[in-house]
């Protein structure tokens, strides 16, 4: 995605080259996308037959960019007597203002041409290079060019129009113009997306839509706590995180204008159970609105019946929602797909954590039915072997997900010797989440639902689960928790970052915590930049393997939270410092993952080749690190602060932290010598 310019609003986004042109091949994610469908795959500007040459690009905002161009190719003399400016903003498709300036003493006659075409590819087709089954058409209607794709009742179309008169044909728009000496010519171009089935009543005027987005972004940044600190890179990372998180907000039509975090650009601009929940957790001290919307939207879509194709069960929280052609024709199960084993317990965890920060009990009452159904799913539907653990095994063998935990690639679950177990699988962090969900739900049952008997039952089940877990998953000779149990109940014994999530969940016996924390910051897991997904020395370890050796910033943010939970302040600061140092190399925008190479070996973090960026839970990671470094913890109606900062940060203030206490400031000074700890 390097060299490409991306602008976005919710799940509509435009990816073009540095000239503002789009020339998509069937397999790359350039073009105008909305609701998982490509609505424009070709958009090429020529003047008198010449392509443009880029001078510079201004990324004005995440939803708007401006291209400064001159006609002519790089190999011939550039005629600097003309300049071209394309200013483009996303919204109902996109809006583009095209301006041509004549710097000469003479008038010029120009033929300005915009070639347009569309393949209406489903984003999944772009990812997997699949063939289309419907029919294309192009027609000129009322001065507009309408490109359309139809398959049975399914229809998608793109309407292209111009404010200045153009000769419109089925392949684009032509302007024959004369520009006087030192004069300019300009036109407004609108590219509007249409979907059949849903009445898009609230079409917004482009100028109004831009103002709305601009104001929305300003409000978002102003309402977040203010960060003052000695570290310039950290201030930059914080600012970048807030803006990227704003960009990744997505307002599903059902949420009444409220927004929740989509997972990431370009492949995942949609609602994901796991990603939306974890990002909302990371962002709670900064923007609790995301959590409220996520809870409501996921609650609305909670599974109610059994559907093998979608891996749906009663009470299960969705994994992923998609809107494209393959989903529409049930060639993919994402309407929505429920194959996630962690989103359901995490839904309950988020509900409780949201109440602890905001004191908003209304939503806890409102979602009582859904929370109880989620808890029931853990016991009744997720325990596939009847052993008291969450197990997963897809019922949709064709297009369902094999691994239904966050490490969802095919080889992510393995033992020390590299063997991959059969199904079903019970990965360890799922049991931690289930434990935490029960403990937290017990609190909510007492406090809000006024059901003490239910609370007692949950606490008893949680205690029982903890006892069994510490016995069945503990790897004696390594002193850590196994990654998973295989279908025979045997340990899948590789050492992994999942141990950090177990600390976060609270399922780890106090007596075992020292050993676990030691592993997390020990040489096999900790690279100096962060905790590797899989420990160096394990059979499948590969420093650039997606879930078998790379370092994931989001993973590390929860690991640091877990370390703090068990009192390992210095270890948490060490992990935070490593990832925040890495952020500097990415101008404050942490990628999805980077290589697990030893820090002393590579002086910079090596980005994973096809990582998504920006990605919501990477964007949320610095926010959660701020929380863990400052030791922010709601305690009744107060916010407790217990800072433990790495020395590299110096002085740090987080001002106006919103919550049930109103707004509170937190201060800290870096005293932990992380360089010494890294050795």
């Amino acid at each position: 995605m390097n060299g490409l310019v991306k602008i976005l609003d919710g799940n509509t986004f435009v990816v073009s080259d540095a000239r503002g042109d789009i020339e998509a091949s069937p397999t790359d994610p350039t073009g105008l996308f909305s609701y998982d469908t490509r609505f424009l795959s070709e958009w090429v500007l020529t003047i008198n037959g010449d392509r443009m040459n880029p001078l510079s690009v201004d990324d004005l905002q995440y939803f708007e960019s401006r291209f400064f161009l001159v006609p002519g190719t790089g190999t011939v003399y550039i005629d600097a007597k003309l300049s071209v400016i394309r200013r483009r903003a996303v919204g109902n498709g996109f809006h583009e203002e095209l301006t041509i300036l004549n710097h000469a003493e003479e008038p010029v006659d120009l033929t300005v041409r915009l070639d347009a075409a569309c393949d209406f590819a489903d984003l999944f087709e772009v990812k997997d290079a699949l063939k289309k089954k419907g029919a294309y058409s192009a027609r000129v209607k009322g001065g507009k060019l309408v490109l359309a794709y139809d398959r049975e009742t399914f229809g998608r179309s793109t309407a292209i129009s111009s404010s200045q008169q153009a000769r419109v044909d089925k392949k684009g728009l032509t302007f024959k113009i004369r520009i006087g000496p030192h004069d300019r010519w300009s036109t407004q171009l609108d590219v509007v997306t249409e979907r059949l089935g849903v009445e898009d009543s609230e079409r917004e005027d482009p100028a109004k839509s831009r103002r709305r987005m601009q104001k929305g972004l300003e409000r978002w940044v102003n309402e977040a706590p203010r960060l003052e600190c000695d570290s310039e890179p950290l201030r930059e990372t914080y600012r970048r995180s807030l803006v990227d998180l704003a960009a990744l907000r997505f307002s599903p039509r059902i949420a009444g204008g409220h927004s929740l975090p989509a997972a990431g650009l370009p492949w995942f601009m949609t609602m994901f159970g796991r990603d939306s929940i974890l990002t909302s957790l990371q962002a709670l001290p900064f923007a609790s609105e995301l959590a409220a919307t996520t809870l409501r939207a996921l609650g609305d879509w909670q599974g109610v019946g059994l559907d093998d194709f979608r891996d749906e069960d009663p009470g299960r929280i969705l994994h992923e929602m998609r809107y494209g052609e393959l989903t529409a024709f049930e060639e993919r199960p994402h309407s929505p797909y429920y194959g996630s084993a962690d989103a359901t317990p995490l839904f309950v965890v988020l509900l409780d954590e949201y109440e602890r920060w905001t004191g908003d009990r209304r939503i806890v009452r409102e979602l009582e039915v859904e929370a109880r159904a989620a808890l029931n799913w853990i016991d009744e539907y997720a325990d596939l072997l009847g052993t008291g653990y969450i197990w997963y095994e897809r019922r949709n063998k064709k297009t369902g997900l094999e691994n239904q935990c966050w490490k969802d690639s095919w080889d992510s679950i393995s033992s020390r010797d590299g063997r991959i177990p059969g199904f079903p699988r019970a990965t360890c962090e799922l049991q931690g989440y289930a434990y935490d969900a029960k403990v937290r739900a017990a609190r909510l049952a007492r406090l809000v639902w006024k059901d003490a008997a239910f609370a007692e039952r949950l606490e008893q089940e949680a205690a029982d689960l903890k006892r069994r877990f510490n016995r069945d998953f503990w790897v004696e000779d390594g002193e850590y928790f196994a990654l998973a149990l295989d279908p025979d109940g045997a340990q899948v014994d590789a050492l992994t970052s999942n141990n950090g999530h177990l600390l976060w969940s609270g399922i780890v016996d106090k007596s075992k915590a020292d050993a676990v924390a030691g592993h997390l910051v020990g040489a096999r897991l900790f690279s100096g930049w962060g905790v590797r997904t899989l420990a160096d020395g394990e059979g499948r370890y590969n420093p650039i393997g997606y879930h078998v050796g790379t370092v994931w910033p989001f993973d590390n943010s929860f690991i640091a939270w877990g370390l703090r939970r068990y009192g390992f302040k210095e270890e948490a600061a060490l992990v935070a410092a490593g990832i925040l140092d890495a952020a500097e190399f990415f101008e404050g925008r942490l990628p999805e993952a980077f290589g697990g190479y030893e820090r002393s070996q590579t002086m910079y973090p090596v980005q994973y080749p096809t990582a998504c960026s920006p990605q919501a839970w990477s964007t949320g990671a610095p926010l959660l690190f701020l929380r863990t470094m400052l030791g922010l913890e709601p305690h009744g109606d107060n916010l407790m602060v217990d800072a433990a900062l790495p020395s590299t940060i110096g002085h740090l203030e987080l001002l106006d932290i919103p919550g049930r206490w109103g707004r509170i400031d937190a201060f800290g000074r870096g005293r932990i010598d992380v360089d010494a700890r890294r050795g």
Partner: protein, 128 residues
């Protein structure tokens, strides 16, 4: 139930709504409030059902009244929906429904439609 045994497909829709009316209350919809009108078309004829939900209390009528959410759907397609033979979201994406108004209400109403398939039962458990 009698209608289903006779296999007279055109009764499936009427029976679906009659059952909702008899059910009276649906705990899964206690957060829902509002009205949804289903305009079911078959050639020139349009049958209308108005479903009102008030904190889980369901009421069905044949009134042609304004509603918070309006669904226009072909009879054959809707018959498949009430039998759990297709997924509403996918059908909406295909354009088999036209939906207007309060989409959140429609998302919640999906809970009233049967699901298409069953999975195997889990083995009886014996927790240690």
């Amino acid at each position: 139930m009698a209608g289903r045994r006779k296999g007279k497909t055109s009764d499936a829709i009427a029976e679906f709504f009659a059952e909702l009316d008899r059910r009276g209350h649906e705990p899964l919809l206690e957060n829902a409030r509002g009205s949804a009108r289903f305009d079911v078309t078959d050639g020139k004829q349009t049958d209308r059902w108005l479903l009102t939900i008030e904190k889980g209390d369901l009421a069905v009528s044949r009134k042609n009244a304004a509603a918070d959410c309006v669904v226009r759907v072909d009879r054959a397609a809707f018959e498949r929906a009430v039998k759990g033979k297709f997924n509403l979201m996918a059908a909406a994406l295909r354009g088999e429904f036209t939906i207007g108004g309060d989409l959140r209400l429609l998302v919640l109403l999906q809970r009233l439609f049967p699901r298409p398939s069953r999975r195997r039962r889990r083995p009886s458990g014996n927790k240690p």
